[in-house]
């Protein structure tokens, strides 16, 4: 566990050693602010509800950008040989990488609290759904990061990792939009595997364990697959 945290800490610090992380975070906040304060947006929704939908879209490129290099860069440069010949389990490496990315995501989400806060100065707002909304974002974001770690374990090219993770997250996000075109029997399943279905429920202000369970399963599955993929180097 100590080693997991050591790895997470190194990744988290590493983000701030290059301009890439700053650019991603700033772009996220700027785009969010732009849409959030645009007259169109304000006119349509006087609440912060829409902010969460917007953030869930913005996470689609942001989460894969945070995870793309986690394992692929180690493979490309060869540092993975040093890392994996230290007395650390492969599972600790995967978990450490994931937690490193999760720390950055948490910082990003914390920064966005500025928006609801500024709205609250204009009028009263209901903080309950905002809290569940952040929980939904954290869960969906974590699921996207776990998928990103998985994609990063498949390749030594971080651009490929970015696109593969992005496509997978996009597919899980968009799939519920196609429900009207899907036969009745399959629709229930498709709805259940989509991010959006569970996200919507949480943002509405209801914490349903089934929705939480869904996101935790996606995280667990993706990380387990990443672990397998890392381990497979030994037998290839």
């Amino acid at each position: 566990m100590d080693r997991t945290l050591t790895i997470a800490k190194r990744e988290f610090r590493g983000y701030f050693n290059s301009p890439a992380a700053y650019i991603v975070v700033c772009l996220f906040l700027l785009l969010l602010g732009f849409f959030f304060w645009s007259p169109f947006f304000l006119a349509n929704r006087a609440s912060v509800r829409g902010m969460f939908d917007l953030m869930s879209v913005l996470l689609l490129p942001t989460a894969p950008a945070m995870t793309m290099g986690l394992l692929s860069e180690e493979k490309r440069t060869g540092t993975i040989e040093v890392l994996l010949t230290m007395p650390v389990r492969d599972s600790e490496v995967i978990l450490g990488k994931f937690l490193g990315a999760l720390s950055l995501l948490s910082v990003l989400l914390l920064l966005t609290v500025a928006y609801p806060l500024s709205v609250s100065t204009l009028g009263t707002i209901d903080w309950g759904p905002i809290l569940t909304g952040y929980l939904a974002l954290l869960l969906q974001g974590s699921a996207m990061l776990a998928i990103g770690v998985l994609a990063s374990s498949w390749t030594d090219n971080q651009l490929i990792a970015f696109f593969v993770a992005g496509m997978m997250c996009f597919a899980l996000w968009i799939v519920s939009r196609f429900l009207p075109f899907i036969p009745q029997q399959a629709a229930g399943i498709i709805e259940w595997i989509s991010f959006d279905y569970h996200f919507r429920n949480l943002v509405r202000g209801v914490i349903d364990t089934r929705n939480v369970f869904y996101f935790l399963s996606v995280i667990g599955l993706a990380l387990a697959m990443a672990f397998r993929s890392l381990e497979s180097r030994r037998w290839s």
Partner: protein, 360 residues
């Protein structure tokens, strides 16, 4: 089996095999303790065989050199011993821990410098060493002490506050070594630690390794003969995934100092590689005969190593005539080290037995 026969034939006299620089502190160590024991390691990548039944023993305090051309299987062996990858067949014990059953134990006992000397370029030298120390379970005062120690040992005092990215290749190599030394491992595995350095840097790193190797078991790989001569107590020559020689640097030089005779005869009925070898071996003063790849289809070439400096050309000529061979060429030459190396690593299979095994 094949590996042991080859190794057995190449053994130098017993006294030549014990490390010569037995300093005061080395005598206190149990030098007979086997630190690394590999048994029939094979590694298959898709359809190519990178390692073919490699067996070896490395004792405490030994500095062992893996010598071989590119693609021989040196790095593969090291990756197996460090548990980065698993052998397809065979197993190994490192410091008493099995690479399959106790990979964490193996990894605790070793310091490893991979071929690429890959480091996290976005970190400062000090940050990096702290990270590795933490991963090795060193914290607080102990961590500070060990980091300070390796920084001094590897001469990084001047650069430890610098970004790794800005360092020269030589200094990066030192950081790689420092990283491998932090937890004071009993075993060091260094993959081509001196390649890619300019001659001055290479000498510095080499001296550093010799210094480090005083108290530790070291395996280092190289494709440079001179390096192995200076830095190692024992040399394993690896070629095409097999160990083809196991000798001391002195033993290798001794072979190199010797003359050898090259004999080429016309192929004829009743003359094969084996019968030719047998006939030539009977000549008194011949220590060993080996068949070489001939230049033409209808020719056979042999290499004869003499036991003494006596001129064997006349007896060889006579033996050829007595056996009814048509002698096409006979000459004597001094071997240099490069030649020994080239012969060992380029002949199809230096051991008839191994050849048979491969054919099965």
């Amino acid at each position: 089996m094949a590996a042991t026969t080859i190794a057995g034939r190449c053994l130098a006299p017993a006294e030549g095999r014990t490390p010569k620089r037995a300093g005061a502190q080395r005598e206190s160590l149990d030098m007979s303790e086997v630190m690394i024991e590999a048994l029939d390691l094979s590694k298959r990548y898709d359809d190519s065989l990178a390692l073919d039944k490699v067996s070896m023993e490395v004792r405490r305090g030994e500095v062992l050199g893996f010598l071989g051309p590119n693609g021989a299987g040196k790095s593969t062996t090291m990756k197996i011993l460090t548990c980065f990858t698993a052998p397809t067949e065979g197993t190994a014990k490192v410091n008493g821990c099995d690479i399959f059953d106790d990979s964490l134990g193996v990894r605790k006992s070793i310091g490893y410098l991979p071929e690429s000397t890959a480091l996290y370029h976005d970190m400062l030298v000090l940050e990096y060493l702290q990270f590795v120390a933490e991963m090795r379970g060193l914290n607080g005062a102990e961590q500070r002490k060990q980091v300070k120690k390796v920084v001094e040992e590897t001469g990084l005092e001047g650069v430890f506050a610098k970004g790794i990215q800005t360092l020269s290749k030589g200094y990066k190599q030192r950081v790689g070594l420092a990283q491998a030394l932090l937890h004071e491992p009993p075993i060091l595995i260094l993959d081509e630690p001196m390649s890619g350095l300019d001659p001055n840097q290479a000498v510095e790193i080499r001296d550093l390794i010799k210094e480090i190797g005083r108290e530790r078991t070291v395996i280092l790989s190289t494709h440079n003969l001179a390096e192995v001569q200076v830095a190692c107590d024992r040399v394993l020559i690896i070629s095409k995934g097999r160990i083809v020689a196991d000798d001391t640097p002195a033993g290798l030089s001794e072979r190199a100092g010797k003359r050898r005779y090259l004999v080429t005869v016309q192929k004829s009925n009743g003359l094969s590689e084996t019968s030719g070898c047998a006939a030539l071996e009977k000549i008194s003063g011949v220590q060993r005969v080996r068949s070489l790849a001939a230049e033409a289809e209808d020719e056979l070439s042999f290499e004869l190593l003499p036991t003494t400096d006596e001129d064997l050309r006349a007896p060889v000529f006579k033996a050829a005539v007595d056996n009814g061979y048509t002698l096409l060429d006979l000459h004597r030459e001094g071997q240099n080290l490069e030649q020994v190396f080239r012969d060992l690593t380029t002949t199809e299979s230096p051991d008839p037995e191994a050849h048979d095994a491969a054919a099965e």
